[in-house]
């Protein structure tokens, strides 16, 4: 079996909002079976970078390379989903007043002749949830009644509900979660990685990053300032790149 070295490669991605240069130069390689953490201070451009990959925003420039080495263009959420990229946004992922099963499939329900295949949907949602968490989450429950960790599990199971997804993007998946709940989500992330998916995770928690990540990319002021391997770095080194104490010579510091 030939597994590609790199699923996606994003190079020199740029994005401005009006006069705000949110992202000046963002690059990342997404490898199958690896968890790649993106770290950086508030406003460093991490979420913006993730949104470009997810198709939620259209980039101003940059190169996007797909699994077979050919160039791709992601300009809408559909583009990303069709390329096998699933995205989990913190806080804005779920539709209230909708059930667990409905949220797992939100907008992508299995259907025949325009009619939703409810039974198939519920069965597949249950299977997907079991891949993500050992806890029982009733698929008929309204997501409004779930805890933060359970809600995150529902969003995560979107990545495994069909076999076409090879990459999952996570924006601060453990933010606002308690210790127990974070643990469940981190377990799920490891599970996704171990199935061979490429995982990209933004996090402010270095403890969590060092727990699950294999690769670490540091963003600062809209640029990548460091690419590190977890096995060969320390939290202190990562912090020094985040704060700009290290690697400042490589970038033009603007004040």
């Amino acid at each position: 079996m030939k597994i590609p070295e790199v699923l996606f490669s994003f190079r020199n991605m740029r994005k401005s909002f009006g006069s705000v240069e949110a992202l000046r130069d963002g690059s990342i390689d997404i490898r199958p079976g690896y968890c790649h953490a993106i770290v950086g201070d508030n406003g460093a451009g991490k979420s913006t970078f993730l949104k470009l990959i997810a198709g939620a925003e259209v980039p101003d420039g940059g190169t996007e390379i797909g699994p077979n080495g050919q160039e791709v263009r992601i300009t809408s959420p559909q583009d990303a989903m069709e390329l096998g990229i699933a995205t989990v946004y913190q806080n804005l992922a779920l539709a209230e007043n909708r059930s667990v099963a409905e949220n797992v499939f939100l907008g992508n329900e299995p259907r025949r002749f325009g009619m939703i295949r409810r039974r198939e949907m519920e069965e597949r949602a249950a299977v997907a949830l079991r891949k993500i968490t050992t806890r029982d989450i009733p698929i008929g429950a309204l997501v409004s009644n779930l805890s933060g960790g359970q809600r995150q599990a529902v969003a995560l199971s979107r990545a495994v509900v069909d076999e076409t997804k090879t990459v999952v993007l996570l924006d601060e998946p453990t933010a606002a979660l308690g210790i127990q709940e974070s643990r469940h989500v981190l377990d799920a992330i490891r599970g996704l990685r171990d199935t061979g998916m490429g995982v990209v995770m933004i996090s402010h928690s270095l403890a969590h990053v060092f727990e699950v990540a294999d690769d670490i990319t540091v963003f600062r002021a809209g640029r990548v300032t460091a690419f590190l391997q977890r096995a060969e770095t320390t939290p202190d080194e990562v912090v020094s790149y985040i704060t700009g104490l290290a690697g400042a010579g490589d970038t033009e510091e603007d004040s």
Binding site: A54, A56, S76, P77, Q78, M81, T87, Y89, L92, A93, L94, A95, E96, N97, R98, S99, V100, A101, E102, L106, G107, N108, E109, R111, G114, M115, I116, R118, E122, R135, I137, P138, I139, G140, A141, L142, S144, N145, L146, S147, Q150
Partner: protein
Amino acid sequence: MTALVAPAQLDVTGRRSFVTRMIFGPREAVLIGLIVVLMIIMWFIEPRFLALANLRAILIGSAMEMVLVVGVVFLMVGKMFDLSLDGVINMVGVVAGLLMVGGVPWPIACAAALAAGAGIGLINGICTTTLNMNPLMTTLATWWIARGIAFGLTQGISPYGFPQQFVDIGYSRLAGIPIVYYYALAALVIGALVLAFTKYGYDTFAVGGNRLASRLRGIPTRRVTMTAFLVLALLAGFTGLVYAARLNAATPQAAVNVNLRVIAAAVIGGCALAGGRGTVIGGVLGVLFVSLLLSSTLVLGIDGVWQYTILGGVILVAVGADALAAKVRGQEDLE
């Protein structure tokens, strides 16, 4: 691990959750109960209330409101709102009437008038989605625009005396049953099926539940809302044609406060301004309940001018009961 989900929410297959939220739930059952109770009370007070002729009058009078409420339910489930119904109804009736009286063949007159109505729906849709304007203010404005057009075009002289085929739109019978019943039935069946079983229905619930999440999942959120406004405007336009046909005249005041009655019915039937909630059957039962209630006040000898005070009270009770129930369940609505 502790159970984080209340036992009442345990629904392993999701079947019950689906049926009660999207087709027929406790709310609808309660409404049927209320309708029966209301009829029994009225039967004790005034047996003539249950006379077939009276019930028939109530039903015929509310048939088109049942058609309208189906459109309103879709809109409100998708977290939108439309006050402009009255204006569209009257404007479309007047435009069709004037064209017909002016010698335009009735099908062309109807098509042109409906297109004008659709134009209002289109404005509502564009303003609220592309321009992100507040739906209440937008449709308040288009309500007055359409109203103004209806009054302006008639200049106090309402066109009347339409071709028989046009009058048949509102007055003919099929198998001995008035045609408006078929309109209501068709709207109910098609609306209920589309909302609960199709991609469009699911998208509508999703948009009402979380517009941004829906967009990020690739749901064409603008198109969903636009379609709802357009369909509702067309239903209102069709209602305008039926009203004109039944009166055999087109007045700019054919519909008065129909928008408020229908919105009240939708809310009583389970729709919430916060979106993401409502059923077609609930909305239609809401119309039935409102119509029965208003006509029983008339039978009781309460002057018609008090209708809306009573209706306002009922809406407060319906919304209040929801808020109370949510509080008892321990989950306050965020909106």
